[in-house]
């Protein structure tokens, strides 16, 4: 059972470090945790007395696992059915240990526990070695977003503390963990039942030169705390509800990452609505002024807008992706296997949408309890999400049938498949495409073409950079052309405005023009805000991913506003124009640009040099290929 009478000395410290103890059934997970609690004298005397009586009744010596396995059925069958966690303090650091079942039947309970963890502690019985469930737990930890696993090889007493047995298994385990993309910095031989190498180094295994288990965990926790605080993160809040108490409308939710303060402009996704924060509240504080990652807050807005639960709140220039199709990696643990025709419910943040699932790749033929898969999710309406590997972004999802959560996973990069206009035209208007002209490879005898796509806010420095780049390539004797979206809006795109649809069409036309030049061996420089990631993906598809170089021309909104070369921001502030990306319309930051330039800190010549280097590499590979021919 979980006890914690004297678990921590002071309450002035930070969030606990959550460790899940994973591994196959009977490898000693609950026993280890019970042993830890006993050794740090954390279990009240009367509880120890109860467990002792229970064990005596069953003619057993005292079972440390009984402190965790509280259910009658668990104790009788010596198996963990459901997860629990216990709080424990060591070296001034607060830990939460999560006990999970090892048996495949209880995988959903294992996932429930493991989803709260930051670190996996994998337990392996030295006699049994690597089991199917061991591998499944490693895969699950990787899927849930953990980066690192520490391994404890248990029951060394049963092999006479032999070094050979340990080393043999340790090498195998390390390889498998690395294969799943996880780090494994420590493998420790232990005896959970008696506590050898748990708190203190064991005299039975003097051949082992590493630290004991708990000190190793403490070091990892300290390292993690240091790296976590250094990570910058975009502001994200999930909207839970809108309250109307005391005649005031308040927007309640939880900050997932970053921070926000009174007076900030915010964007709601997927609705695309924008507003300004009047004040952030945290009862009993009427005006908290600021909110940061982890905070449950409520805020009032300056303007009255209508939004509902399910939106993601962000800064206007750092919005999440909004799509109806998304890719994901999932683990299935539903009682019923996956069915292609079924409508499921997708949950991301507080949003819930009906969806259909398309199976791309799975490790088993049928998706059943314990299967892992790559999928495409087709949603009934747009949903907002992040596609980034870090846990601070909103990339975690679950899939539910009517009353049951059947799968969990994370979003994965996926290039939207769209019906191309080319297909549409040829089939509907019976247009036949002519061939026989000079081919691209003939054009590229001189040098290889490329498209350098500069995306960023107005005032970030795209046009200036495009001019400098064009000059630089020209001086190197390359065929080059700069396509400035602002100029094209005067002619080719004169019929277009700034609605999301028009912006998409604008990008599509520019991409096709760029493609024409690319095919004649040109280096094409495009300067275009292109604020929606879906539109940029369209450009990538039209141009071809190999020749498309997305350059994120970043500059803080404040600096853009100060530069304001076209006086757009000033006119927007005066209420003369609408739909300014980053202010009153979204700008979705590129997740995987070929380069990210910060024009507020770098000079133009530095930026030109970085892009030059990138393109040189691209053309050099091409020339190498040519010379080999």
């Amino acid at each position: 059972m979980a006890t914690g009478t004297a678990s921590h000395k002071a309450t002035g410290d930070v969030e606990p470090f959550q460790v899940v103890i994973a591994g196959s059934v009977d490898h000693g997970k609950s026993t280890l945790l019970g042993r830890i609690l006993l050794d740090c004298k954390q279990i009240p005397n009367d509880i120890i007395q109860n467990v002792r009586q229970l064990c005596t009744k069953q003619n057993l010596p005292i079972q440390p696992s009984f402190f965790l396995d509280a259910f009658k059925e668990e104790q009788e069958q010596n198996i963990t059915i459901d997860t629990t966690c216990v709080c424990f303090k060591y070296a001034e650091k607060r830990f939460v240990f999560i006990d999970v079942p090892g048996h495949l039947d209880f995988l959903k309970n294992m996932t429930t526990g493991a989803s709260k963890a930051e670190l996996g502690l994998l337990l392996i019985d030295v006699n049994e070695g690597f089991r199917t469930q061991t591998l499944r737990h490693i895969k699950m930890l990787a899927l849930l977003g953990l980066h690192e696993i520490i391994v404890a090889i248990n029951k060394l007493d049963t092999v006479n503390y032999r070094k050979r047995d340990f080393i043999h298994l340790a090498e195998q385990v390390k390889m498998i963990i690395h294969k799943e993309g996880l780090r494994c910095d420590a493998i420790i031989p232990i005896v959970a039942l008696t506590g050898e190498n748990v708190f203190n180094v064991s005299s039975y295994m003097s051949w082992f030169h590493g630290k004991a288990l708990i000190p190793t965990l403490a070091t990892t926790a300290a390292k993690r705390a240091r790296t976590c605080t250094n990570l910058p993160a975009n502001f994200r809040m999930i909207l839970q509800d809108i309250y109307f108490f005391d005649n005031i409308r308040r927007f309640a939710g939880r900050v997932i990452s970053g921070r926000v303060k009174n007076g900030d402009r915010i964007l709601f996704s997927p609705s695309g609505k924008m507003a300004k924060i009047l004040k952030i509240e945290r009862w009993t504080k009427k005006n908290a002024g600021i909110a940061q990652a982890g905070d449950s807050v409520a805020f009032q807005l300056e303007e009255q807008i209508f939004v509902e639960r399910g939106e993601i709140v962000s800064a206007p220039d750092e919005s999440p992706t909004t799509e109806t199709i998304l890719g994901a990696k999932i683990a299935w643990f539903g009682n019923a296997p996956f069915q292609a025709q079924t409508t499921y419910i997708l949950k991301i943040g507080t949003a819930e949408v009906h969806c259909h699932i398309e199976l791309l790749k799975a490790d088993t033929q049928k998706l059943t309890n314990g299967s892992f898969a790559n999928i495409l999710i087709h949603c009934a309406r747009p949903i907002a999400f992040d596609v980034a590997p870090d846990a601070s972004s909103i990339n975690r999802l679950v899939i539910c049938s009517t009353h049951e959560t059947v799968a969990a996973g994370v979003t994965s990069p996926y290039i939207t498949r769209r019906k191309t206009t080319k297909k549409f035209l040829t089939s509907d208007y019976n247009i036949k495409q002519e061939s026989g002209y000079i081919t691209r490879s003939e054009h590229e005898k001189i040098h290889r073409g490329a498209v350098i796509w500069l995306t960023g806010l107005s005032g970030a420095g795209k046009s200036s950079l495009a001019r400098a780049l064009e000059r630089s390539f020209h001086n190197q004797g390359r065929k080059v052309i700069a396509l400035d979206a602002d100029n094209l809006r005067a002619d080719l795109c004169a019929d277009l405005r700034f609605s999301p649809q028009d912006r998409a069409e604008n990008v599509r036309r520019i991409a096709h023009v760029a493609k024409l030049f690319l095919n004649t061996g040109f280096i094409v420089i495009v300067a275009c805000i292109s604020p929606y990631s879906a539109d940029r993906e369209t450009a990538r598809t039209i141009i071809g991913a190999n020749d498309y170089f997305e350059i994120f021309v970043y500059c803080p909104l404040e600096t853009c506003r100060q530069r304001d070369p076209k006086k757009l921001y000033a006119r927007a502030a005066a209420g003369q124009i609408r739909d300014i990306s980053g202010i009153s319309a979204p700008y979705q930051i590129p997740r995987n640009p070929a380069l990210r330039l910060d024009t507020s800190t770098q000079t133009i010549s530095e930026e030109v040099e970085r892009i030059n280097r990138l393109i040189r590499l691209h053309t050099k590979n091409h020339e190498l290929k040519l010379s080999r021919k």
Binding site: M1, H8, E15, L54, R254, W283, H403, A408
Partner: protein, 267 residues
């Protein structure tokens, strides 16, 4: 540095808001004890000082009289809506702990609770239990459904991944919502101190004795203690070697007594 109590509070408020946004017809189970009083305070925090939900108190008729006085004064002072649930049939038939502790708890608490839930069509019940109290509670989910016969299928609990809670409630069943499941006993007292909460006086020492956990008079023992302030209680908890519910007789009526009680719908 972010405070640990803030961390706990943020998590609890998130849970309360999630449940309220999905299940409006819910209620707060309030025993007037320290835990459910902290939970009530967290509800007020979630709703900017308001308590939009009614409270439910299950009155067995065996409560310590002082508790009832304190309850009525508190409800009046904070302008709360209180539903009192009682199993009058069992009480008039003379149900008492002498008939068997588990039988008595089952009739006067579980049955009374289930009848109240049914009568008021409650779909979500906020319950202030904590993992560190007792074994079967340690295995709970934050959002825990009861079957249509109000039992807890503890051998087949739903998945609860990250902070995604299953709040789609089919008609005729109710879910238990446990917003302070992740708190420990000592966190509760640190929080009471930080927020300066009003707490039932029985927790504080009088004549060298106090209650560490409150229940029905016949089945709850007080402990020897000189802690007459919140600070005193916190200091005592760091030193003690006894468990919180050592004075609760029903826990010891049988092996796995609480598991049995709770599988039938006990809180």
């Amino acid at each position: 540095m972010r405070n640990y109590l803030n961390y706990l509070e943020n998590q609890s408020i998130f849970i309360i808001r999630e449940a309220y946004s999905k299940i409006r017809n819910s209620a707060i189970l309030w025993s007037m004890g320290k835990d459910s009083t902290v939970m009530l305070h967290l509800v007020r925090k979630a709703f900017m000082g308001h308590c939009p939900l009614p409270l439910v108190h299950i009155d067995t008729g065996y409560k310590i009289p002082e508790m009832i006085e304190w309850r009525d004064a508190y409800v009046k002072k904070h302008n709360l809506r209180l539903i009192i649930g009682q199993n009058n049939k069992a009480r008039s038939a003379g149900m008492s702990p002498e008939k068997g502790r588990l039988i008595c708890c089952g009739a006067l608490k579980t049955t009374a609770l289930i009848e109240t839930i049914r009568a008021h069509k409650i779909q979500g019940l906020f319950v202030g239990i904590r993992r560190d109290e007792e074994g079967s509670r340690s295995k709970e989910r934050i959002v825990s459904p009861r079957t249509n016969s109000n039992t807890w299928s503890y051998k087949n609990q739903p998945a609860e991944i990250w902070e995604y809670y299953n709040l789609h409630v089919p008609p005729n069943i109710h879910v238990r919502i446990h917003p302070i499941l992740h708190w420990n006993e000592i966190d509760i007292w640190h929080y009471i101190r930080k927020e300066k909460l009003e707490i039932m006086p029985l927790y504080f020492s009088r004549n060298g004795r106090r209650y560490r956990s409150l229940g029905c008079a016949p089945c709850t023992a007080d402990i020897r203690s000189n802690a007459c302030t919140v600070d005193g209680i916190i200091a005592e908890l760091y030193a003690t070697k006894a468990s919180e519910r050592a004075g609760r007789a029903q826990d010891k009526a049988d092996t796995h007594a609480m598991q049995k009680l709770r599988s039938f719908g006990y809180m």
